[in-house]
Assembly symmetry: none
Homo-oligomer: 129 residues x 4
DNA sequence: GTGGTCTAGACCACC
DNA sequence: GTGGTCTAGACCACG
């Protein structure tokens, strides 16, 4: 599947699931009407507890990203893609903002910071090829 | 004072204190032998609980960034600056790495990501002027 | 048909089917000996799952509201009308009681509650004209 | 305390807790800034599982009825009273509407329905004296 | 002490 | 099979 959970990156597991579902919807990897993996199925894949998946899915329903189809499962809601696309940048930008802000507070010099960011971006690009 | 605590940026408060002390030491804002504010004093300044400051100071002692001077308080340890300088980049790089990794997992396009980073850096530069 | 299913009013769907069959019998809309629609037929009409209808019919047989006629289907049992008439008030009264009890617990004033009830009754009368 | 949970009235327990907190806030029984009972405390009082209370409180935070005060507990949010007052009528009206609608669908006669409602209201008034 | 998160496993309603 | 709810109990961070 398309998810990748890291139990110790600071974000709660259920939150990582929420974000990645949103990202997948924003990106079109999950289309409106398509079913997400069942709670039990995804829990097995990610090797986490079903309740944790259920919690993430519940919050995604509250935000109308998913909707429940009785007895069949949870499907991506109509119109969710648009909302998720809008939100995606914000979700990322906000985490990025925190890190960069801290970096500047640390008196890290403007050029050093840029160099650091560049090196990380390049590292990412290499792995992404 | 030189610290800026944000109670809701995901990082634990005691961890923000630890990081910012290390940054100040790395930067020379706190020099070897210089006393840090007392637990109560810093807690009052940052409007956080003294126990939280105490915990941060305790861990900083464990890492030999601070050392207790009998009857006087806690002072920056000799040699701490060097260690903190080395660590500073790593602390920041590691958080940055997580965020950028998530961003790429979100299928954010390479150029979009660069644009996002640039805009945040510029925003930071402006405020830092 | 005479039924009106609301998948999200808190009541289980099979329960709504049961109640509405009982109501129809109590009211004479379904007379003793008359056949109810087949499981598949009713499921199609109400756009719900046949198993759900089957379950409702099964419980209605247990309560002797319906009886199976070999090879023909399910018919309203003799004497069912009388029992359903007696039960109808109780079914409704009990739900009504819960709701009004909660309303009073909410410290809703006696007059406000009456006004609320009146306005809902009027709204109902209008639509029922 | 002011809560009264009924594990078998159709509403989920966590939902009853949510509604009753909102009602208490709407009514002024809980004022802005006041702390609600702790998760463990309320769980003990209501003889339910702490997780169930935690879930209710979590959703109340999402709706900004409660806000968390680090290490101290959960307090009624500023402005919550106004929102809860507005919502209270709707919460009750919507349940009432369902019940009355079903009653009319049951072909219960207009006068019979009124009589039923009146008798329940009087019953309530008596107990409320 | 507080809330937050996670795991484990149960039962129910619905398809 | 599906999700929804509830219980029980663990661990963590914070005050």
């Amino acid at each position: 599947m398309f998810f990748d959970i890291n139990p110790s990156n600071g974000l709660a597991i259920y939150d990582q699931v929420i974000r990645q579902v949103k990202f997948a919807v924003a990106d079109g990897a999950l289309e409106a009407g398509e079913f997400v993996p069942s709670v039990r199925e995804l829990a097995k894949q990610l090797a986490i507890n079903p309740n944790t998946v259920a919690r993430a899915y519940r919050e995604l329903q509250n935000e109308q990203v998913l909707e429940s189809v009785r007895g069949s499962g949870l499907a991506v809601a109509a119109g969710a893609a648009k909302r998720c696309r809008g939100e995606r940048l914000e979700l990322i930008r906000s985490r990025l903002h925190e890190v960069l802000t801290e970096a500047r507070q640390s008196q890290l010099d403007r050029r050093e910071l840029r160099a650091l960011v560049e090196s990380e971006l390049k590292l990412l690009d290499k792995r992404g090829d």
